[in-house]
Amino acid sequence: MDAIILQILNGLDKGSAYALIALGLTLIFGTLGVVNFAHGALFMIGAFCAVTFSKFLTLSHTVIDENKTDFLGNPAKIEVPYIYDLFGQATGDAIIDWAVPLSLIVSIPVMVGIGFIMERGLIKHFYKRPHADQILVTFGLAIVLQEVIKYYYGANPIPTPAPDAFRGSFDFGAMMGFDPNTIIYPYWRLVYFAFAAVIIGAVFAFLQFTTFGMVVRAGMADRETVGLLGINIDKRFTIMFGIAAAVAGLAGVMYAPINSPNYHMGMDFLVLSFVVVVVGGMGSLPGAVLAGFLLGILESFASMAVVLELIPGINQVIIYLVAIIILLTRPRGLMGRKGVMEE
């Protein structure tokens, strides 16, 4: 029993990342009808927003400390972050410690901006082209973005720690009446799951309960009619692209402490996210979220020792296997809408 709970928990954080990326992909696909292969790159850029922000916070100048001496006997030089000068040492330390959550604030405008530029600058010209062309051009864009990041940040993963307060692990076992230390779960992953739930909830609430969201949903159902009613649907869809980019970016920011960001993390997630989208059903937002969590949890169950003994290697292939089975038995995916992407 405790093993099962542990695996479900393990699946949740990866599932959250899949669900967030798949949600963004589906938003773009549902509104603009574009298959965006650069979405993983947006996730990666989000993670690098966190890296850049924490680097920016620790920008420092050297100060000569008269009280200390270095090993040669000269007065020691110490690096003092500029932020100390602004806020004092205690507050400055706290801000540096909370760099990752704080970078969320910075990353939203950055990601929305990148999304706007991408949509207006490139993807706009590809609405009328076939899906294969869209896939290819965004694939090229993903390579370019990835290489630009690699050029500036290098090829090695950059550790970006979570705030001190979340660095420990949470003992679920003790709380739920099992033996202590059987179900241990890092706090940050819990935070990630909660964060993902909030973001997903916010996106759904935005689409469901605001006028803007209503128009967007109407546009998803029948773009032409909404346009004929005198609504500038293109502008709204561009904004949705920005939001989708921001969702991917935020997912990336919060993922930075779980997995040190490197330039190809986006591609690694993208392939799986596409599988997730297809399993959930192209164009279905709840389907994308459901499939994301489902596949995340399935993956962690498949890596249990008992299962691996039974079917060796299943943890490596379970997602793809499930995808193949679902695609062949339920042609529209789990919750796919009728008439979307059916040739």
Binding site: V35, L122, H125, R129, H131, A132, D133, I135, L136, V137, F139, G140, L141, A142, I143, V144, Q146, E147, V148, K150, Y151, M267, V271, F274, V275, V278, M282, P312, G313, Q316, V317, Y320, L321, A323, I324, L327, L328, P331, M341, E343
Partner: protein, 399 residues
């Protein structure tokens, strides 16, 4: 000739001449000069150029003709490679059985994958093929280690049974050969400052590539190829006229899988080792890039694209800061530094960036790839001529 019309035969002859003369053409710069960087006439790279040409030609038969975008073709290349290396380990170091078996095994695997994947089309087909390829990759890395060698991969060893070959003498290492002709045997021709290398392995691969190219021309011009184009333009209409398109697409899938297996087998014949990384999805992505870059659906495009990408991978990636500084050394220091800083991100380790940019530009502006670019330039000159020949250059006004 050979069942081809004049134009196609001309194309085949041009390709044949180019591949046969490749050691000269790819080595235009004298040894030791600053431009020797750009020489691609060494056996290893030339072999790769033609082998990936075969891979791309095969991919083009599927994608170019039927429009089905497979994102998992590297799996067939990998399966072919594993089949070939096992033939070398068990049977003989002669490359013929290795290549034949790699084609057959890759074809069978393609039959299985294609039979399942072709139930769907569009992006679903892409995802299904991707899923199969990723599964093969993951399995080759983990569970199938006894067959695939896992992370270390496979090489022929001194201790392998090799039923047909006699026992090796002590100290002799197993070498791939064609009835005794070592694949690595090469002769060098020195002409002044130029050194041209003629490699046995390259010429065998090139001849195989020519045969593969000839077959692809025949497929393109056959009624079968016409049927595949019909699938691309409107499959639904084809089905409504009472034709079952599945056997045709499946045949195209298997043929292109066999081409991939052939490429895999040749890779092993040239360099006797296999690792699972050649089945990773980026390898599948690369063949897509090659085909699109050259021009999908054209005969020569995939070969050009494969050549360009492999050339860039090997040559552009070798240019480092020192080389750049050497090139621009004749300029004033400030300009030299500026140029070096500007160009540096695009060469050396950053060659993927150049590739990505070129690829995006091609997809945006030249959906037909390099071949379309060539045609446009050709048309540009073709159109200019008549206007130049008119006596006073004035155009006759339209009605």
């Amino acid at each position: 000739m050979l069942g081809l019309n004049k134009k196609d035969f001309g194309l085949l002859i041009i390709v044949a001449i180019l591949t046969m003369a490749a050691p000269f053409i790819l080595n235009p710069f004298p040894e030791g000069s600053a431009m020797a960087q750009f020489n691609a006439g060494y056996p290893d790279l030339m072999q790769r150029l033609v082998i990936f040409g075969i891979f791309a030609i095969g991919f083009n038969i599927l994608f170019g003709l039927t429009g089905y975008l497979s994102f998992g073709h590297a799996a067939f290349l990998g399966v072919g490679s594993y089949a070939a290396i096992w033939m070398m380990k068990l049977l003989t170091m002669n490359v013929i059985p290795a290549i034949v078996v790699s084609i057959v095994i890759a074809g069978l695997f393609a039959l299985l994958v294609g039979w399942i994947s072709l139930r769907r089309s569009g992006i679903y087909f892409s995802i299904l093929t991707l899923a199969f390829a990723q599964m093969s990759y993951a399995l080759a890395y983990s569970v199938l280690t006894p067959i695939t060698g896992g992370e270390t991969g496979l090489q022929p060893k001194y201790t392998d049974p090799r039923i047909l070959d006699g026992a090796l003498e002590a100290g002799q290492s197993p070498r791939a050969n064609l009835f005794g002709l070592d694949m690595r045997a090469s002769s060098e021709l020195v002409m002044g400052n130029w050194v041209f290398t003629f490699n046995a392995g390259y010429y065998i691969a090139a001849i195989v590539m020519l045969i593969a190219f000839y077959m692809s021309i025949r497929i393109f011009r056959s009624p079968f190829g016409m049927m595949l184009r019909a699938v691309k333009s409107n499959q639904q209409r084809m089905n409504y006229t009472g034709l079952n398109s599945k056997p045709y697409t499946l045949a195209a899938f298997v043929i292109s899988g066999m081409y991939a297996g052939l490429a895999g087998g040749l890779l092993v014949a040239m360099d006797t080792q296999v690792g699972a990384e050649r089945m990773f999805w980026t390898a599948s992505g690369e063949v897509v890039l090659m085909t699109i870059l050259g021009g999908a659906g054209t005969l020569i495009g995939p070969v050009l694209g494969a050549g360009l990408i492999k050339y860039m991978e090997n040559i552009v990636s070798k240019i480092n800061k020192g080389v750049l500084e050497q090139w621009f050394a004749f300029m004033p220091d400030g300009i030299e530094d500026l140029l070096v800083t500007m160009i540096y991100p695009f060469v050396g380790k950053g060659w993927h960036l150049t590739l990505g940019i070129i690829f995006m530009l091609v997809v945006i502006f030249l959906p037909g790839g390099l071949v379309e670019g060539g045609q446009r330039i050709g048309r540009l000159f073709g159109r200019k001529k008549p206007s130049d020949s008119s006596p006073d250059g004035s155009k006759t006004p339209a009605e």
